[in-house]
């Protein structure tokens, strides 16, 4: 489903060259739950941005669902993000002026769904995260955990192949965090791949695979997780 070959990221300014990610190879199959761990500034978010088509890589080949996405135009990349990828952000990134229903509806409006189809998808997603009764509430009327559930509902409403979760429990207490992890496990169980960046050792252990990034070097061999996590 996701294949990265010789992928690297270099940031260039007028006089400074920063190698954010050293060349690496990585393959993730459909339905896998992968945790990406590493200390702050190691390159986790850069990896997530590249994998989620939010940022371009500097070298290598990136294939998503068998298609090389390296050379896609902005329009096509946007369409790819919209149809194949779901995002869950650490700060939820909900639009405060829109209620839950409209927040989930937002990415669906960029696709050629009918109003009825959109409504069905929104309500199904809200039911899946246990918030169907609060569709008319605004994000500020919800707890952090509930807001993250809305963000997850927004991510799954478009039936993506993969969900990229960036520290999805970073702003939540442990009880809420566990609820979100359970929800992600359930979504993964239905066949959606999940790639989750996290600081949390225990949460990383719940994934099927763990990828470690340290000083821009990506590896899958992470024998002592406690040391890798800052």
């Amino acid at each position: 489903m996701l294949k990265m070959t010789g992928l690297a990221k270099v940031y260039l300014t007028s006089d400074v060259k920063t190698q954010a990610l050293q060349p690496f190879n990585l393959s993730i199959e459909q339905g896998e739950f992968v945790a990406v761990i590493g200390p702050s500034g190691s390159g986790k978010t850069t990896f997530l941005n590249i994998a989620g088509l939010l940022e371009n890589h500097s070298e290598g080949v990136y294939e998503l669902d068998g298609k090389d996405v390296s050379t896609l135009s902005d329009k096509h990349k946007s369409a790819y993000r919209n149809e194949k990828i779901g995002f869950v952000f650490q700060s939820f990134n909900l639009i405060p002026e829109l209620n839950l229903y409209d927040n989930i509806d937002m990415p669906l409006r960029y696709r050629k769904f009918t109003a009825k189809e959109r409504d069905e998808r929104i309500m199904k997603a809200l039911e899946q995260v246990g918030l169907a009764g609060r569709k008319n509430h605004y994000p500020t009327q919800l707890s952090g955990g509930q807001q993250q559930r809305v963000a997850i509902a927004r991510a799954i409403a478009g039936s993506p192949s993969v969900i990229f979760a960036d520290e999805p429990t970073g702003n939540l207490d442990s009880k809420m965090a566990q609820g979100i992890m359970s929800l992600l496990q359930d979504i993964n169980a239905s066949g959606t791949s999940i790639i989750m960046v996290t600081h949390d050792n225990e949460q990383a252990q719940q994934a099927q695979r763990i990828v470690q990034i340290k000083d821009g070097v990506l590896s899958e061999d992470a024998p002592i997780l406690a040391q890798a996590i800052a």
Binding site: N49, F89, I95, E97
Partner: protein, 401 residues
């Protein structure tokens, strides 16, 4: 248009900021279309023909000396001397000059003591049509036999008169030519016979509603103050003016109160209108600039405030074009709301101006053109901030808040 519903919901939720912008657009539109309408009215007023030969004519205001019973002879002497000048085509004494802001108002009644219409009264001699260059369009011209010489207040005498077409249309709305031969009564209720109709001759007060309603009476008023309307031969106006002044000043004790070309007179008559027009143009331009900057500033602020939100939209699948269209559409919604409110307000203001100041109501094409212009201004003002919004990288969504 996919974003229309969320945009409206967002604006309804945000309230204050869009409301202020809507208000600004509405006020700008209301003031602008009414100001443009006023400018157009003034422009039309200034372009109206006086009815006389403006290019070759001038007038002199001077004095006649002697006992009152000798002033008629002094008048004749002046006229003979001035008409003999080689550069002069004609001279007529006038009790007032068009647009001079000095003259005599009169009632123009169909029946004695029954107020029908107001206008201005001009006492002249039989050469008035030829000298002023008036266009006689019905009836007959004045003749020497029609003319009387009085010290003043010729209005008290019954005479044959000429009237302007505007008066004729008022007297006989169905067929203005039927006004010829009618008897009218001026302020003193003395009957006056309409002998002819001239197309146009404006009265003394350019801003008065009755500026086109004028009565021309063949009465030479030989008073100690007199106005001579002089028409020079084509192209010889300045030369004629010099010769006329020189000729008049040969008379001992002569005082020249005024010597002015009709072009100057007209220019001065509308000086305050021109100043007001410039002020209105300045106000309109100022309002447009302030509104344009307001829209730009608000959009720029909105983009900066919502960068993370824009990044999230991009991350969730919005293309650069869709983000740009989102902001353009948002402005279109705000602008159109402001313009609809402004449209109603402009009509209301126009109605008030029409009722209280006699202005023509703002025509529909002005309102529609104003709406289109302000809509385009809004879209132009928001285009750069919208372009900046489209350049927000989707990766900003993953940055810490």
């Amino acid at each position: 248009m996919k974003d229309l519903a969320p945009i409206i919901k967002t604006l309804l939720k945000a309230k204050a900021s869009p409301f202020l912008l809507i208000l600004q657009i509405a006020i700008t539109f209301m003031v602008m279309v009414n100001a443009v309408n006023m400018l157009s009215e003034r422009s039309k007023n200034m372009a109206r023909p006086i009815g006389v030969d403006e290019t070759n004519s001038f007038y002199i205001q001077t004095n006649l000396q002697g006992e009152s019973n000798a002033l008629g002879a002094r008048l004749d002497e002046d006229l003979v001397r001035l008409r003999a000048l080689p550069s002069v085509q004609g001279v007529t004494p006038m009790s007032a000059i068009p647009l001079e802001a000095w003259g005599r108002a009169t009632l123009i009644n169909k029946e004695p003591a029954k107020v029908f219409e107001y206008g201005a009264y001009f006492a002249v001699d039989e050469s008035v049509v030829e000298v002023l260059g008036l266009n006689l369009i019905a009836g007959e011209n004045l003749s020497v036999e029609d003319v009387y010489t009085l010290p003043m207040d010729g209005i008290d005498l019954s005479t044959n008169i000429l009237i302007t077409k505007a008066v004729a249309q008022s007297l006989s709305p169905d067929d203005w030519q039927q006004a010829v031969g009618m008897t009218v009564y001026l302020s003193n209720d003395k009957p006056q016979q309409v002998k002819g109709v001239v197309e146009t001759m404006q009265g003394p007060w350019p801003l008065w509603y009755g500026v086109e309603f004028n009565v021309i009476s063949p009465l030479r008023e030989a008073y100690n103050e007199v106005r001579y309307f002089v028409r020079a031969k084509p192209g010889l106006r300045d030369e004629a003016m010099e010769q006329v002044l020189e000729a008049l000043l040969k008379t001992p004790g002569r005082m020249i109160e005024k010597a002015k070309t009709i072009e100057t007179l007209k220019f001065e008559a509308y000086q305050s209108d021109r100043a007001t027009s410039k002020l209105l143009i300045g106000v309109c331009l100022g309002l447009l600039i302030v509104t344009g900057l307001g829209i730009y500033g608000q959009a720029r602020f909105s983009v900066n405030r919502r960068k993370r939100q824009i990044g999230t939209r991009r991350a969730l699948g919005a293309s650069k074009g869709q983000v740009m269209r989102f902001f353009m559409l948002e402005n279109a919604v705000v602008s159109l709301t402001g313009l609809v409110i402004g449209f109603i307000a402009a009509l209301s203001l126009s109605e008030q101006f029409s009722q209280h100041f006699g202005l023509t109501p703002v025509p529909l094409p002005y309102l529609l053109s104003g709406m289109a212009a302000l809509f385009v201004l809004g879209q132009l003002s928001v285009s750069y901030p919208a372009l900046q919004a489209s350049r927000v990288e989707p990766a900003i969504a993953t940055r810490s808040a």
